[in-house]
């Protein structure tokens, strides 16, 4: 009965949202609709952003250097700009999105256990469709305010619902240097800044996210800012329930080469944002970054990463550590290296090696994630991926269940 109610609700929301979309709309997410531009303007194999997409995201979901020029779906004005001169005798002017800025993302998985569990063949295959449904909404209210709302339903057998939302006030001190964000801070953000799990192209999460940084997304307040070559975020978050002390975090990144975090450095003579003719994903640059999370639960997390984009190749390396002050013998740390390569605009292959050293003993893991992300359409992605453990102590030594085992995945992922 619960399942029936749940699926009725999901289908009703889906039908409602589809009917709100323009009849002639191609299947494109909200930002693509707003600017009447393809996904590839901002995404290099979504959800990973291109350099322009990252600048767009940091700028509060607005095009850097003159957003208004590019908007094709005019917003609804909540006051002409000249009303700034009338304030405080008038409400500060802004605007709201024209069309409801809602996107849907549906993810389904086929998983095959290829480990030597000894089970019969019928028990090795699992299908989850959908595995995940995301309802996303984001945009801006005028020049210097932006918002984000994300609702995730995962694994229908036992629905896990994640909800995050935030509002950001920008350009408080000098342009881009100091912004304030309030809401669900950090969810999907408190990771090594240049290898954020939320922006991965693989089906599998980063091991550091699975084991160390996942769930660091409580409500709070964050100050952030960015320039051409740098960006930072510093925040305070607190569990939604209870009166526990808050946690603090700091995240920072540097970039050398390529389009700046602020979108500068890529402008043509005509004032248009430059796109490289060789490949929309290209942005030759080197990144360095790190984060520190001082948890109120006496568990602290640290991480550093580096990434090198060179034409069609991406190389990254990182280290994430967890220190448990209460139980020092249960510390964990993950080191990883990864490589991605664009064979074609629609085909990006990848390989990632990750190693988890954990306490207590007999908890170490090392695995290789290898596969390819294929864009059947700009908004339809297929991942063919294998996960192979080179060290699997929990299973081999502790005899844990076969979920921690070599497997192959086929993921279908589409968004509109």
């Amino acid at each position: 009965m619960k399942k029936l109610i749940f699926w009725t609700l999901i289908l009703s929301i889906t039908v409602l949202l589809l009917n709100l979309s323009p009849k002639n709309a191609e299947a494109v997410p909200a930002f693509a609709r707003k600017y009447k531009t393809a996904c590839m303007t901002c995404h290099a194999t979504y959800p990973r952003q291109t350099a322009l997409g990252e600048a767009f995201r940091l700028n509060g979901y607005k095009m850097p250097e003159g957003d208004e020029i590019y908007v094709k779906d005019p917003p609804v004005s909540m006051g002409a700009e000249a009303y700034k001169r009338v304030w405080p005798k008038a409400v500060w002017p802004s605007d709201i999105p024209g069309l409801p800025p809602i996107s849907l993302r549906v993810i389904g998985d086929l998983e095959v256990d290829i480990g030597d569990t000894g089970d019969s063949k019928d028990n090795r295959t699992k299908i989850e469709f959908p595995h995940e449904l995301e309802i996303l909404s984001g945009g801006s209210f005028g020049d210097n305010m932006s918002f984000w709302v994300e609702l995730e339903f995962e694994e229908p057998a036992d629905p896990e619902i994640a909800f995050s939302a935030w509002l950001m006030w920008e350009d408080i001190i000098w342009r881009n240097y100091f912004n304030i964000k309030a809401g669900s801070i950090g969810m999907n953000e408190i990771d090594p800044p240049n290898t954020r799990d939320h922006a991965r192209i693989t089906k599998s999460h980063y091991l550091f996210h699975e084991r160390i940084t996942k769930g660091l997304g409580d409500p709070g307040v964050e100050a952030n800012g960015f320039g051409k070559n740098w960006r930072y975020a510093a925040g305070w978050v607190k569990p939604q329930d209870g009166f526990a002390d808050g946690s603090y975090y700091l995240q920072a990144a540097l970039k050398f080469g390529g389009l700046g975090f602020d979108g500068t450095g890529g402008t043509t003579e005509e004032g248009l944002l430059e796109t490289t003719p060789a490949g929309y994903w290209r942005d030759d640059a080197i990144f360095f970054g790190g984060f520190v999370f001082k948890g109120d639960d006496n568990i602290n997390r640290y991480g550093v990463d580096a990434r090198w984009n060179f034409k069609d190749l991406v190389l990254a390396v990182g280290y994430v550590k967890e220190d448990n002050d209460i139980a020092p013998n249960s510390d964990e740390n993950v080191v990883f290296v990864e490589a991605e390569y664009f064979f074609f605009p629609w085909m990006q292959s990848y390989a990632r090696y990750e190693r988890l050293d954990a306490d207590p003993v007999n908890s170490d893991l090392a695995r290789l994630v290898i596969g390819a992300a294929l864009l059947a359409r700009a908004n339809v992605k297929v991942n063919l991926e294998g996960m192979f453990f080179t060290d699997n102590e929990p299973r081999e030594i502790l005899g844990l269940d076969k979920d921690v085992d070599n497997r192959v995945f086929l993921r279908l992922d589409y968004a509109f």
Binding site: E68, I69, M78, R85, L272
Partner: protein, 212 residues
Amino acid sequence: MRISRGSITIICWMILLALFVVTKPLSSLAEEGGTIKGLVKTPWVRRYQALVYIDRVEGKEALPPKENPFVSQAGLVFKPRILPIVKGTTVDFTNDDTVVHNVFAPPGSAKRFNLGTYGQGVSKAVTFDTLGEVTLLCNVHPEMVGFVIVLQNSYSALTSDKKGNFEIKNVPPGKYRLKVWHEKLKDVYQEVVVEAGKTVSVEFKKKAFKRR
């Protein structure tokens, strides 16, 4: 040698004709102005028009028109959005909607005024006696905006397309400062020399413009 009367008549007419042919173009040159044609190369003109105008023409203070231009409030927008006028012009503000409207100029405008709220079919007049930009707002509908640009002379043109093309005709020969006004950008200018009967081309490059 005697020249007949008929021959003298013919010779006189030929002289007169020659004089006419020679002097007519000269007099035309004295009356005919030049043309300034060009391009405002900023992507902002795709969104909002720019106004290109001659800052000052000495000895050519333009007189206000006999018939008042008007700015209409229709469909909850000011029409036209940008109205260039010469100093001393009286503009009629007419409410062509079925809802009440208001017109006022906020701080920073060359002329401050507030016409109060008024209903359909009512028209109110304002005389603009100071050079500069006057922003028009409506305190009933905050999203409405318009601009009256008060100029020293009548030599101006709005960009005619999204590429930023403009043309100003019949400009008296001389050296002038040509300015560009845009609601989102700071003013820029260039010096231009206009010759009678000729067209001078001007281009305002994107790099020259800065956001307000």
